[in-house]
Every structure is written in structure tokens, then in C-alpha cells.
Subunit: 141 residues, 2 copies
Amino acid sequence: MLTRIDHVGIAVASLEEAIPRYEAAFGLTVAHQETNEAQGVREAMLLVHKGDTGGSYVQLLEPIREDTPVGKFLAKKGPGIHHIAYGVGDIDSALAALTVAGFDLVNKTPVHGTAGSRIAFMHPKGVGGVLTELVEAPEGH
Amino acid sequence: MLTRIDHVGIAVASLEEAIPRYEAAFGLTVAHQETNEAQGVREAMLLVHKGDTGGSYVQLLEPIREDTPVGKFLAKKGPGIHHIAYGVGDIDSALAALTVAGFDLVNKTPVHGTAGSRIAFMHPKGVGGVLTELVEAPEGH
């Protein structure tokens, strides 16, 4: 079902502070940046590696308000890893299979993700406390 | 410097419980299992994808005692994502470059990692609260 580790989402207080740190440490560069109002974040995707099944990224997430999931995460736990996202070829099939297998989904149907991707989150309780996202890359990616 | 996301390390109370969950959810299978006394863990590597620069894995970590880093993490935060590990081609050069750039290292020289790899951890404070590991795969991998 999974084609790659698409990204690891990291909650940060400030993109302006976090991006230069990742550039300085690892020579990563920003491949994409956008604001996702529905998810309540400003985000930057830093490319780690482009493989045969797509890219793997560090995703830096800055909340746009305190009353957002990432804003609450930062307030409660401080900056750090927020979620992991796996690439899938067909997210509709993947969500159907997970539902049949008894896993609870935060998003029963895909929602808008980074750069036109289709994404869905699984409930952490079903996968050992890990907020887990599935990503179907946009056409042509 | 980075060649891939090598793995995401997930702290679990029990490998026997967590492995079947990841098998059921995503069809992942255990590629490798070992006990690392120095790191204080029993671990299982579940292959997500084998790419041109090496494998990407979910690493499930069960502490061998409570007074280990993962044991303390579990007691304090509960099960969840513990660290992220990036592949590098030459870990000695990578650690030298990070030191020159002013990043603090937990391991100033590489230690024994999964399946004969050479690894080193960076201090979380330098990279936005994220425990970050570098991995040089063993010869021939």
C-alpha cells in the first residue's frame, strides 16, 4: 500500500527561524511553501530526496492561530515531530482498505494537502499514538 | 548531505502488539529485528520502500528497561514518534560539517546502529526540538 515516506511533519513556532536552521544543518532547500487555511498552518516542504516513487520531505509547520491542531500541539508539547506521512498510489483504495481492516480515520474522504495532493489522516489511537497521514501526489508528480 | 529518510523511530510498549498493527494497517513486513543493548531497545525495522539510495523504514522501538532513553520517553510522553533518521553517504564527513556549522552532537563519533549501520544522534535543541539521527548504511547496502 505504501510507496514511500512522503514527509515528516515538524511543528515549529516560526518558519523564518526554522527554515534557515534546516538549510544550515543539512543543506536542504525549500521546494514549496503555502498556507493551508483548512489545516491551520503555514508550511514549507524541504526536499530530502527525490526517488523513483516521489519525493521525501521535511515539512515544517507553523500554526496560523493558537486554536489550530498544530497551535495546540505547540502549546502542549513544544516544537517537535507532529506526524508522519506515507505516500500511496491510490488514496481512495487505501482508505477503503483501512476502513475494512477496522482502522479509524480522521478524514473518511481525502482533503486538500500540500501542492494539490489528496491527503487523509488516520486516528493516532489505531497506530500506536502516531498521527499518521496518507498522501496521494497530484497528477504528474 | 542527506540521501533519504532512513527511518522514523516510534516508541512502543510492546513489539508483539505493535508489529501486527503495522502489518494489518499497511501490509508492512519486518525486514530486520535485533536488540541494541547500548541504545537500550529491542527494535523491529518494517520496510516502507526500497529506493535507489537505500531503504526507508518504520522502526518500532521497545525499551529493554525503564531507565533507558526510550523507556523514559514512554513514561513521560506515552507511545509515539521518538526520532527521525536521515541517510548519509559518509557519516564522518557529515558529523565534521555539522560540528563546523555549530550543531551539537550527542554522538561526536559514530556508534553501532541497526544491522551494522554507523549512526550518530544530534542534540534536539539545535534542530527545533527534534531528536535527529544520521545513518550510514553498512557496506554493500
